[in-house]
Symmetry: C2
Subunit: 221 residues, 2 copies
C-alpha cells in the first residue's frame, strides 16, 4: 500500500509521445471530416485521411461520443457567445437577426456542428450543459423583440430553433450563401405587422422538435 498519496480512482498516466501526436492528428482530421460529412463519417475514412491505422482511432476514441465531445465543446461555447453578443445589441430586432445570421453561418460551414446542436445526449454530457445555457438566452432575445413590438407575439423559442435548423440546411456547392435569401423571407414573416392573423396550431415542444430534426436528417430513433 505504498502509493495512497495519489488521487482517488482515476490514475491518469500521460499518453506516450507518439500516442499524443496521433490523438491531435485524429482530432484535426475528424474536425474536417465531420464538418464535411456530418457526425457519422466512418472511422476508416478518418484513419485513411490522417494516414494512420483504423485501430489507432478506435483505441483512442472507442466511443464516437467521446470524439464528438472532444471536438464540439468549444464550438457550442462559441454559439453561446454569439447569442450573448446578440443579446447585448441595443436594438432587439437587430439582436435576433444577428443571432440567426451568425448561428446559421456557423452551422452551414460545419455539418457536424449542425447535427450536434440538434442532439439531446445522455445526462452528464458536457455538450448538453452548453446547449442548455443557450435556451434562456434565446428566450431573452425573443421576449425582448416581442416587447418592442417588432417580433410577432405568437412565435416561441422552438419556432425559432426549428427555422434556424431549416435555414442551416439551405446550402449547396453552388450558391453556398443561398440561405440568406430565405432567411430574409423568414424574417419578413417573423416581423409583427398590423392586421396579422395569429399562427395556427401550437408551437412544438422541445422533444417534438428534436424528433423532427432526426427525421430531417434521416436519422433513426
Amino acid at each position: 500500500m505504498g502509493r495512497m498519496t495519489t488521487g482517488p480512482v482515476t490514475e491518469e498516466r500521460p499518453l506516450r509521445r507518439d500516442a499524443a501526436r496521433n490523438r491531435e492528428l485524429i482530432l484535426r482530421t475528424a474536425a474536417e471530416l465531420f464538418a464535411e460529412q456530418g457526425l457519422e463519417a466512418g472511422y476508416d475514412e478518418i484513419a485513411k485521411r490522417a494516414g494512420i491505422g483504423v485501430g489507432t482511432v478506435y483505441r483512442r476514441f472507442p466511443e464516437r461520443s467521446e470524439l464528438v465531445q472532444a471536438l464540439f465543446e468549444s464550438r457550442i461555447e462559441e454559439m453561446v457567445a454569439i447569442a450573448e453578443e446578440a443579446a447585448d445589441q441595443p436594438d432587439p430586432w437587430e439582436g435576433l437577426t444577428m443571432f440567426l445570421e451568425r448561428a446559421i453561418e456557423r452551422q452551414v460551414a460545419d455539418r457536424g456542428l449542425k447535427e450536434v446542436m440538434v442532439q439531446t445526449i445522455a445526462e452528464g454530457d458536457h455538450l448538453t450543459v452548453g446547449r442548455e445555457r443557450l435556451g434562456p438566452i434565446i428566450d431573452g432575445l425573443i421576449e425582448r423583440a416581442q416587447a418592442a413590438g417588432t417580433l410577432r407575439p405568437d412565435v416561441e423559442a422552438t419556432d425559432i430553433g426549428m427555422n434556424l435548423m431549416l435555414m442551416s440546411s439551405m446550402t449547396m456547392p453552388e450558391q453556398p450563401e443561398l440561405w440568406r435569401r430565405y432567411l430574409a423571407l423568414l424574417l419578413d414573416g417573423l416581423r409583427a405587422a398590423p392586421g396579422q392573423k395569429p399562427l395556427p396550431l401550437a408551437a412544438p415542444a422541445d422533444e417534438a422538435m428534436h424528433a423532427l430534426m432526426c427525421n430531417l436528417h434521416g436519422r433513426r430513433a
Copy 2:
C-alpha cells in the same frame, strides 16, 4: 417465317394469372412502404410484407425505376390537377395558397411522392413529362399573384419549389400538421408589403435546387 403478322419488336404476352396477382400485390405493398420510408425501401421488405419471395419482386421489377414509375405516374398527374385547380381559383393569392397547402398535404402523407417530385430522372421517363407540365402552371400562379400585387415581386418559381419541399419535411409522428404553422409564417413572408426590401441574392437555378434537395435528403450525387 410464318408469323410476320404480329407487331414489330415487342411481342407482349399477358401475364399468367398468379403473376398478375402478385404484380398487383407488389404494387400495393410498395405503395405503402414507399409512403412510409421513401423510395429506397428494400425489396426484401416489400417481399416480406407482401408474403412472397424476393425473387418474385425482382423478376417483375428488375429496375427500381420501373416500380417507381408504375406507382407514381398517377400521383404526379394528381399534383398537376391540383395546380390546375389552383390556377382556376378567382383570387390569385387564394390560388397560390391552395396549391401550396394541397401539395404539401400530399407530400407529407407520402414520403415517396416527395422524393419523386424532387428527382430529375433520365430522359424518356414518363414521370418527367408530368413534372414538366407542372412548371408552367406554377409560373402562372406566381405571375398572376404578383400582377395582383399580393405576392412580393422578387420571388421566383424555384423559391416556391424550394420552400414547398422544406415545408413537406416538417412533419413527425406527434403534430403531423405542424407544417401548417410554418406555412402560415412563410405566406406572411411571401406577401407583398409596402416598404419591403428586395430579397438578397438570386433565386437558385433549377439544377441548383435539385442539388440542394439531394443534400437535404442525404442522397448522394
